[in-house]
Each structure stands twice: as structure tokens, then as C-alpha cells.
Symmetry: C2
Subunit: 283 residues, 2 copies
């Protein structure tokens, strides 16, 4: 398999998703509806600002309205929740994205929970999490959904495979584990307290890296022929996987950049269009 | 370790929980509050009738009021939900347990979701599931909570251990996996589509059997020294684990009966008392 790994082209997967959205956005506009995503950025973290800008720009390129709300670093939880509630009640807004992390003094969970479930296009509410865990979510968290979309785009089998997920965050490790489980993978969830991590990762037919540490997953941890999905995005465009070393072992791997990232954004756009359609067709 | 396994005495763990509840029930009664669990049985399934009766009787032995509602097999989803909503609004009822499974024509999920989160002492709602997944549930599902209580009662270490859960139901396999994960175990979830099940179970430092098949987990699947928790309860008082064979390998094991079952019921009582106290002390 050495150096023959299939590069899973996230940009291409994202383009396919966006292509399909174009006609749906036009159909909505013909009915007088402009799909609209409200993004909320709190404070001045440069990475967060970049992510929000990328999402807003991606909306606009597709004809989706981007309502960009930038709140000061001193915003209180109550003030943030008031903004979210206003957006909940605004009929012209179909999706709400609160960029995380928010500043430490804010109760992030309370803010997430304030988002109406019908506008929770990023799948951050508890109810959205549970719906996803039960295979019933309208809007699963975007990065986990992107990982599944990449597997499906390339017809990579999931059922009966052993998936090893490294990371257990509420918006990535946990939901992607449950999505893989619901698709009949056997799932192992590893994290910072895991003992014998290399041996466990080596069992994975599918490996999902969601650690947030650059090049943390080593090439010799990867089983020959495994499918590797790298959801990490660290400074200097480095993923959570030692990409070059991994290429020599894996059968398929997502690069960073142009892997999971663009599909995550495309998924967010798709959810926003889905939400707008639900408003029109199931009022 | 042969034949030296510690028998994890669920009856004793349950008695400890109930002992601690006695004085709390008395304190509530001194304030004029009688903790009350409403149980709803739909139809005439004899096992379900037995379970509900056991729960009701356990309440009464502890001085908790047992409001027993028995609905006919022909009850519709709407009728069931109406009953639940009445109980939600009844200030004298602190906990609501809908015995499952309900008859097939009823939308069980819709009925579960009708239970107010503050009275969901059996942890069956989606919101309750998510709160538990995030380590924030007032009332995690009773059987998963019972498994954790047994581990804790016997001071069996969880952090860094590899837990293998066989089963992925919404009220058992999934929530117990998330609880073990939140306690820093590395968790593998197996199920009917898992390939190489024996080899995977053999990795478990902690094995949770939640399959619903009598004596399904074989003794030679158990790693020497593993802790085995059997949440199964099949006809003829047989668990999901081949108990005798398992005794020879495990360091500790729950019997059936008198293992997880009584702790599950004690946990339900505890949640009901918790709910009554919340009503009094955090009105």
C-alpha cells in the first residue's frame, strides 16, 4: 500500500455539495426567500475571526445571506443570549452559528442552549446532540457530518469496520463516534487518559483524529490499509495526523488543508439551505 | 484468578443506597412532602407488569408513594401523552416512569419526550440523554447509573481502563458508554454488526454486557482479571454473561439476579427522592 494512499479530496466533496445547493438556493429565491446564516463572533481571537469570515464568504458565494454579528470581548452571557434570542425570533434568519470558543467568562453551554433547535445548523445544542445520537438529527454537528460525507462520497465501507476516534469533545469526538456507531461501525473512543493509544489506533480500519495537537497521530500507529480522517487544524496548516508518514500505511487519507475543513463549511451551508426550505415547505 | 472472582453484591449496594434515602424521605415528610413516583404500564406484557410492580413495591417499602397507572393495550400515542402531561402538571408527582417496551402501535419516542425533564427520573428523554453525555444529568438512565454505582461502591478503577460495552441501546449501551468515557475510560462499543467480537471483548478491563441474549458472553472472551458487569436479565434468571465460565477469568463480576437489577431499582428511588428534594429546596 506504500505511498499509494488515495487522497480524499475534501475540496471536491465540498464542491459537489455546493453544486447541489445552487439550484435549491435559486428555487428559494424564486419564492422570495433568501436563505440566511447569522454568525456570531465574540471577542477578537484571530483564528475565530478567520473561521467566521470563511463561513460568511462561503455563504455569499452561494447566494446565501450572511448576517455577521461581532460582539466585543466584554460581552456578558446575558447579552449574548439576548442577541441569540433576537435571532431566534427573526423570521429572516434560518441558521445561527455561534463561533466557539467564546471568551472564558461566558457560559458557552448556556449560550449554545439558547439557540432554537430549528436554527441550530451547527448542531451544538444538547437536544441536537441527542437527536444525532439517536440518528434523528436535522442538523448534526458539521465536522462529524463532514467526516461521514467524505466516507460516503468515496463509498468507503463503515458497517462492521472498527473505527477508532481519538478525541471526545461534545462537537466532534462524541458525535462522530455516535454517527459511526449508528452506521454499524464498532467504535473505540480514545482521549488524553487512554493507555496504550498507539496499539488501539493500530486496530482502526477507520481512524478519526480529533485531538487538536499537530501531527500527533504517528504513521506507525496506522494499520496497513486503514482509512484516516484528520479533523485537526493546527497552526501552519498542520493536521492532527503525521500526514506524510501516514500516506505510506493508509489506503485513504484526508489532507490538511483541503480535507475535512471545506466539507465542514459546505455542510454548514447545506444545513442553512435545509433550514430555509423547512421554513418554506413545512411552515 | 481462577474461581476467585469477587462477586459484586448488587443487593448490598442497593441496600446502602436505600439506607441513605430513608432519612431523606423522613425529612421530606416532616415538611409535608411525600416523594411520589408515577409508573405507567401500557398493555399486559407479563414481564413489564412484573417490573412495574417491583418498582412500585420498592417505593412503598421506603415510604415513597407509588402512583400506579395501568393503561389498556389499545391506548393510543395521544392518549398516553395526555396521561403523561397530566402527571407533568401534577405537583404531587415527582418522578414519572413509563415502562418500556410499550405496544408497537405507540410512538415510544414521542411518549418519552412528553415527560418533563424535571420528572424524567429514568433518564429516557433526549435532553436527559444529552445532559448525561455531557456529564450534567440530574437523572441519568437508571441501569447505566447502577453500573457506575457498583464500580464506585467497590472502588474499582475506571480512569485509563479499557471498557468494552456490548450493546448500544438508547437507555443502556449508549449512555453507559458515555458515562464510562466521562470517567476517563477508553470505551469500545460493540453490537450485532461487530466483527471479531470475542477478540474485542478480550481487551476489556471492564466489560459491560447489555445484549439481551442469555449467556451470550462466553467465559473465554473475558480477559484474566477483568471486571464484568452483566446488565442482562433473560428468562429463567439468566444474564447476558455465561456466569460460571466467567467466574474463572474475571476479578469481579455481577451475578444475575442480585447484581445490576436491584441497584437499578434503588437508583430509580434515589432519583425520585432527589426530584422531590429539588421541588422543596429549589422551588
Amino acid at each position: 500500500m506504500a505511498d499509494n494512499a488515495l487522497i480524499l479530496n475534501g475540496t471536491m466533496v465540498a464542491d459537489r455539495i455546493k453544486e447541489e445547493l445552487t439550484s435549491r438556493v435559486e428555487a428559494l429565491k424564486a419564492k422570495g426567500i433568501v436563505p440566511c446564516l447569522a454568525t456570531i463572533l465574540v471577542g477578537d481571537d484571530p483564528s475565530s475571526a478567520t473561521y467566521v469570515r470563511m463561513k460568511g464568504n462561503a455563504c455569499e458565494r452561494l447566494g446565501i445571506e450572511s448576517r455577521r454579528i461581532h460582539l466585543g470581548a466584554g460581552t456578558t452571557t446575558e447579552e449574548l443570549i439576548a442577541v441569540i434570542e433576537q435571532l431566534n425570533g427573526d423570521e429572516d434568519v434560518h441558521g445561527i452559528l455561534l463561533q466557539h470558543p467564546v471568551p472564558h467568562h461566558i457560559d458557552e453551554r448556556a449560550a449554545f442552549e439558547a439557540i432554537a433547535i430549528g436554527k441550530d445548523v451547527d448542531g451544538v445544542t444538547m437536544l441536537g446532540f441527542a437527536q444525532n445520537a439517536f440518528g434523528q438529527a436535522d442538523y448534526p454537528s458539521c465536522t462529524p457530518a463532514a467526516i461521514m460525507a467524505i466516507l460516503d462520497h468515496y463509498d468507503l465501507p463503515i458497517e462492521g469496520k472498527h473505527a477508532v476516534v481519538v478525541g471526545r469533545s461534545p462537537i466532534l469526538g462524541k458525535p462522530v463516534s455516535l454517527m459511526l456507531l449508528n452506521r454499524n461501525a464498532t467504535v473505540t473512543v480514545c482521549h488524553s487518559k487512554t493507555e496504550g493509544l498507539a496499539e488501539l489506533v493500530r486496530q482502526g480500519d477507520i481512524v478519526v483524529a480529533a485531538v487538536g495537537k499537530p501531527a500527533f497521530i504517528q504513521g506507525d500507529w496506522i494499520k496497513e490499509g486503514a482509512v484516516v480522517l484528520d479533523a485537526g487544524y493546527n497552526k501552519g496548516n498542520i493536521g492532527d495526523v503525521d500526514y506524510e508518514a501516514c500516506l505510506a500505511k493508509a489506503s485513504a487519507v484526508t489532507p490538511v488543508p483541503a480535507g475535512v475543513g471545506p466539507v465542514t463549511i459546505a455542510t454548514l451551508l447545506k444545513h442553512t439551505v435545509d433550514a430555509a426550505e423547512r421554513r418554506v415547505f413545512q411552515p
